[in-house]
Structure formats: C-alpha cells, structure tokens
C-alpha cells in the first residue's frame, strides 16, 4: 500500500536526524519586502524549536529518499539495513518547505538524500528542489543542500546558485577509517570535491568585469561532519583533521557527531558508544581554535593519550596545565591573554577592555560585566584582589571538576 505523505515524512525525518548541522546563520542578508515572494535571512540564525535531545530545530531536515546504493557501516540508511524505505517527489519537498515556512516552524530546508541510480541522478533531484523553490516560488529562506559524492561539477555549480550552504561529509577523521567503514566512499575524492567548491566560492567573491557585481554562490559557505567514536581516532587526530579542513578548504563549520545507537545497527559497529560529553568537548576545543586564538596542539597536548579531559572543559584543562601563565591582570593583560582565562569569553573580554580605559577594575566591576567571579577569581588579578599563587594550590582541579557521577548511560 502506498504510504501517505505523513508516513513518509516520519520515515525520512528519522533517516535525516543523524546529520548534526541545523545552522541557518552566516549567509547573505535578504528579504522579500521589496521583491515580493516569501522569506528572509537576516544574519542571525533562528532555532524555531528544540527537541528533547537538546538540538536546535531550525531547518526542515529531511532526505529526499532513504534508499541508498552505499553500505556505510555506521549509517541508518545503508543498503544492508532493514529500515523502512520511502521517497518524496521534488514537488512534495517544495510543498512541505513552503507550508512549514509560512507557519514560522522553520528557517528553511536542509535536503540530503540516499544515493539512487547514480550520483548525478540524485544530485539533479536535489538541485531541482532548490531551483523550484527559488525560481517558481520566490523563496528567500535558507537552503542547505548535501552534495552527493562523485556528482558532476556542473551540478555542484548549479546547486551553488540556489543554495546558501553546501556540505559533503568527510564522515571519519582518517582515510583508513573511511575505507573501513564507508567502503564506497573515497576520501581523496571527497577532499577534491571540497577543494573544487572552495575555489569556486572564492572565485565568485570577485566582482565580475562586466557588471561589477559579485555573483551569488553558496553565500553560507560549506561545512562537513565527522562521526566520533566509530574508529579508534583520538581527539588529537580528530581536531587535527578539522584544522586541516578549515585551513585548506575554508570550511565554515566541522560538525562532530558522537555515534549513537541506530535502529537495525550493523554488527560491525563497536559495542560501546562514546559519551556525549566527548562530542561536547570537541566542539569546545573547535571553538577555542576558531575564536580564542588557541593552537589545537596546545589543547590536545594536555593529556599524553591525545584525548580531551571529559570532566573539565579544554580551556580550564589548558590553564591548569599552564599555571605559570597565571594570574592574569585584568587591568593590564592584552586581549589574547584575557581570552585564555577560564571564565572570560568573547563577550566579556571586549567589555573589560572598554571599561578599563576609564577605571581600574575590581571584582565587583567584573560581576556587573556578567563574569562569574567564582570561576575566574583563581586565575586573575584585579584592583584589590590577588589570588594565592596557582602553583601553590593543589586542590584547583577539585574546585572545578564536577562531583563524580556517571556521565552517560554508557559512559
């Protein structure tokens, strides 16, 4: 019996939830006020709901189909899995996107697909959805398309004209991991595809000679995802791989997804899952690299085994391993060093720099700047405050580490 739209929506959302990305920020600003039509993007992404897994729901994240020729061991949609299969038509995805958008459920669409018939055939279907949304329906909301591995360059180019973001998942941090767990995927070709896209994005930023206008091409950039805990890679390997992707292909984001139990899992998967906290620590480390001026090796060299601490965050772990760099004087230290103080961040540091031009800061000044004085106190000097020398304290870790408890059901 044919499945209803609602039944297929259930199947194809279930099939899409393992992609962590739901970002709708960082694209060009546009709206429909003067041009008519529907939709806008105003810089900041909006999370329209949160699921009980704590994840933001910003986009309608679905697969066009979960039939797939590939047999990636970790994937719920691999060809050897017995999950229920379904398929949307391009028109149905367009309809769902517009109707969800009009009710303000979503910022736009994140469309991916299992690979059916061929990479090009699958990619053509995805491009058609984006093209119809933009050209037939004047849709100006956010569109993220998954790039199908091995799809022809002209299809990627066309996708880039309509999509805000394109992504192709590297899946695992090492080439051996990809070969072992995703036998139909080829790491070198995935990187080639990222590289080609990165060059096209750069080229489109140059104003054309004729019109002096910049071409609109993937304004939200490209992103990727790595699954954590399937192969034996350490956090140092994972983050090293991310840095490589950020710097070589100018990726906007690398997403980390702690592998979790899936329906009808393959027996080739590891029995134990990584704690969700590991994924959280990787995001924190990724943040320190991108916004706090840390080198990834500084963060990953704290422990000899190359993994991040689970019970304390990577910035605190770095500070405790580098006690000679503290205390930091909030009235004199430069921005770079202030950013390294556990408890100070990208919003409190500019506030400190601004305020200290006018007065010498005390602890209660910091409190008014919404800094947690309890947390920063051991690491800073302020007017009227100098801490015990950190090197003299043996109980610092205990001060911050949470009371021992089970981190996750399988931690």
């Amino acid at each position: 019996m044919a499945k209803s739209l609602k039944q297929r929506l259930a199947i194809l959302s279930d099939a899409a939830k393992y992609d962590a990305s739901c970002a709708s920020s960082g694209t060009q600003k546009r709206d429909s006020a003067t041009s008519g039509g529907l939709g806008s993007t105003e810089g900041m992404g909006i999370c329209h709901a949160y699921a009980p897994d704590g994840r933001c729901i910003s986009l309608l994240k679905i697969l066009l189909t979960n039939f797939c020729l590939y047999d990636c061991v970790y994937c719920v949609n691999r060809s050897s899995s017995n999950v229920e299969r379904a398929r949307f038509t391009a028109e149905e995805v367009v309809w769902l996107t517009l109707e969800f958008y009009r009710r303000n459920y979503i910022e736009g669409l994140f469309l991916s697909s299992g690979i059916i018939r061929s990479s090009d055939y699958t990619m053509e279907q995805l491009v058609r959805v984006a093209k119809d949304l933009r050209t037939l329906h004047n849709f100006r909301g956010y569109i993220h398309l998954k790039t199908i591995p091995e799809a022809s360059p002209h299809l990627i180019e066309e996708a880039g004209l309509y999509a805000d973001r394109l992504s192709i998942n590297i899946e695992l941090p090492t080439d051996q991991g990809i070969e072992q767990f995703a036998p139909q995927k080829h790491p070198a070709r995935i990187r080639q595809s990222m590289s080609d896209l990165s060059l096209k994005i750069e080229a489109a930023k140059e104003p054309t000679l004729k019109t002096k206008r910049r071409q609109r091409f993937v304004p939200g950039g490209q992103s990727t995802q790595m699954i954590v805990g399937v192969d034996g890679a350490t956090d140092a390997t994972i983050l090293g791989s991310s840095v490589d992707l950020y710097s070589r292909f100018r990726l906007r984001r690398v997403y980390y997804s702690a592998f979790s139990p899936i329906p009808d899992a393959s027996s080739a998967l590891p029995l134990s899952r990584p704690p969700l906290m590991r994924e959280h620590r990787l995001y924190q480390a990724d943040w320190l690299y991108r916004f706090y001026g840390f080198d990834v090796t500084e963060i990953t060299s704290v422990r000899a085994d190359g993994n991040l601490e689970l019970d304390i965050d990577p910035k605190l772990a770095w500070a405790l391993a580098n006690r000679d760099r503290f205390p930091v004087d909030v009235n004199r230290a430069d921005k770079e060093m202030l950013l390294r103080v556990p408890g100070l961040g990208t919003s409190s540091v500019p506030a400190i720099l601004s305020a200290r031009r006018h007065k010498r800061l005390r602890l209660d000044d910091l409190e008014r700047l919404r800094v947690s004085v309890r947390k920063v106190r051991p690491f800073i000097m302020a007017e009227g405050w100098s801490p015990l020398r950190l090197t003299d304290r043996t109980d610092l870790r205990e001060l911050f580490a949470p009371k021992p408890k089970q981190l996750s059901l399988f931690g």
């Binding site: 259930a10 959302s13 949160y50 699921a51 897994d53 009009r102 601004s354 008014r368």
Partner: protein
C-alpha cells in the same frame, strides 16, 4: 517632587518628550517620580504633575546616538523602574560623555541587562510565533494569524521582521501586549491587549510528525532543550505537548535499538553489492 505617569507600552517618544522637558528645566533625577499609568490612578486624584517650563539659562541638551539605541530597547521592558533608570542615564551622560562605554557602571550595567532581555524576548518571538491559516485565500492572498505571549512590549519593534519575511501573505499577530497586522500594503500596530483567539490548522499535524521523528531518543538532553525553549512558551507551541512522552519513552527505545540482534539484509542489498 514631580510625579509623571506614562502608558509605558514600549513607545520611546512618550518618555522622550517628558524627559526632554525635565532636562531642559534642569530637574535632577532624584526629583522625579516616574509611574506607569494604570487606568484607576486618576480616580484617587493622583493626576500627573504638569511638565515644568524650560530654564532659559541652560543650553539645549544633546545625547549620543548610542543612548537612543539603548533607550529604544530598554523602554520596551516591563520593569517599572525603566523610566527612572533612563532619565538617570540621560542626566549623567550630559556631564559624563563616555558613560555608555563603561559597561561596569551600575546604571549602564542595569540598562544593558534590560536591553539584553529585550533582545532575547524579541528573538524568541521570531522563533516561537506559530502562524495558523485562517480559511481560504482572500483577494488572492493567503491569511494567517498567530497568538503569542511576550514578556515585554516588543510587538512593534519585532513586527518589521515578520513584514520583511512574510510579505506575500496577510498575517496578524495578537498578544496581551499589543498586536501587529500586515495586508501587503500596510503594517498596522496597536498597543492594546488582545484575547487569545481559537485557531486550528491541520498542517500542525505534519509539523508534530516532523518534531517527533527528528528527535533522537539515544541522546536525551532535557536540560539543554529547556534552557533554550523554557516551559513558559510551551502552551502556544503545537509540538510541545509531545515532549513528555518523547522523554518518557526514550530509554526503552534506545534499549530496544541496542538489544536488537543484527538482521539479514534484503535481497536488493546483495544485488547492488554483486555489481561492484
């Protein structure tokens, strides 16, 4: 002491006119008793004092642009002390021109806290308003309505977002703190409170299906969800009543995934693999 009552529904001009008159008359902040008008006050003879005439010996006051931006947000807050706080800042900034760049100053810090609350409230309104379709299109335009309950008087300052986004449809957002409506030509604002209308939209059922199925029961993080989507918003979100059951069944669903024996693939899997 000068007693002044304002309607206080997020209109900066109302406060600005009074504050300008006070400043030009040289009235210090400690001599003003700012109040929010509540319909009944006048019955007890607590009428407003008249605004004092300007003092000709004072030069015309000026304000930095940053103050007006800050005030425009702070005035939307429901905190009854907002009028006095803003007047104190306005008074001080006449002599302390750099005041607003000292975020550790208690008045500045307080104003920034209120501003931040307004930003968050407006952001949550953009996120959690849910439009429901009202019958068939009218004159070629589809019509939608939403009920929302903001903490503060933010409907007017947030309405432009909805206008820029939902240009090709008619919509109205009604709240206990004012309403906004768009018909393709005009944005109509009101600061009068509204009653919750009865609204039903069948598409909510598809959205609820999506919400239930995009959730991964193997990664329950209830705290993370609630810090971003506090319970006070749930009653107006069509998907929220699914949450308790999704949480309650998550562990069993995960156990089931883990305990299940690996299955044999379907024939099509072997056909595909033979082609390799």
């Amino acid at each position: 002491m000068i007693r002044l009552g304002l309607r206080g529904r997020g209109d900066l001009a109302e406060w600005r006119d009074a504050a300008r008159a006070l400043l030009r008359a040289g009235v210090p902040p400690t001599d003003v008793d700012w109040r929010v008008q509540d319909g009944g006050a006048d019955l007890f003879g607590l009428a407003d004092d008249p605004l004092p005439p300007p003092d000709p010996s004072l030069s015309a006051p000026t304000v930095p642009a940053a103050f007006l931006t800050l005030a425009d947000a702070v005035i939307c807050h429901r905190d009854p002390s907002r009028f006095a706080l803003l007047y104190r800042l306005l008074w001080r900034v006449q002599g302390e021109r750099a005041l607003l760049s000292i975020p550790s100053d208690p008045d500045v810090a307080r104003a920034e806290t209120l501003e931040k609350a307004i930003r968050r409230d407006a952001h949550k309104m953009k996120a959690f308003v849910r439009f429901k379709e009202m019958g068939p299109p009218h004159a070629g335009r589809r019509r939608f309505a939403a009920w929302f309950e903001p903490d503060n008087y933010i409907v007017a300052r947030t309405s432009g977002f909805f206008q820029r986004r939902f240009t090709d449809m008619d919509w109205i957002i009604v709240t206990p703190k004012g309403s906004a409506a768009w018909d393709g030509q005009h944005l109509t604002l009101s600061d009068e409170p509204s009653q919750k209308p009865d609204l039903i939209d069948d598409t909510d059922d598809l959205w609820r299906t999506y919400f239930a199925h995009i959730f991964n029961p193997a990664r329950l993080k209830v705290q993370a969800m609630q810090s971003q989507m506090p319970k006070k918003y749930w009653k107006n979100l069509p998907e929220a009543d699914l949450i308790p059951d999704l949480i309650a069944s998550a562990e069993d669903r995960m156990r089931d995934m883990i305990d299940r024996e690996a299955t044999q693939p379907k024939p099509f899997h072997y056909r595909i693999r033979e082609r390799e």
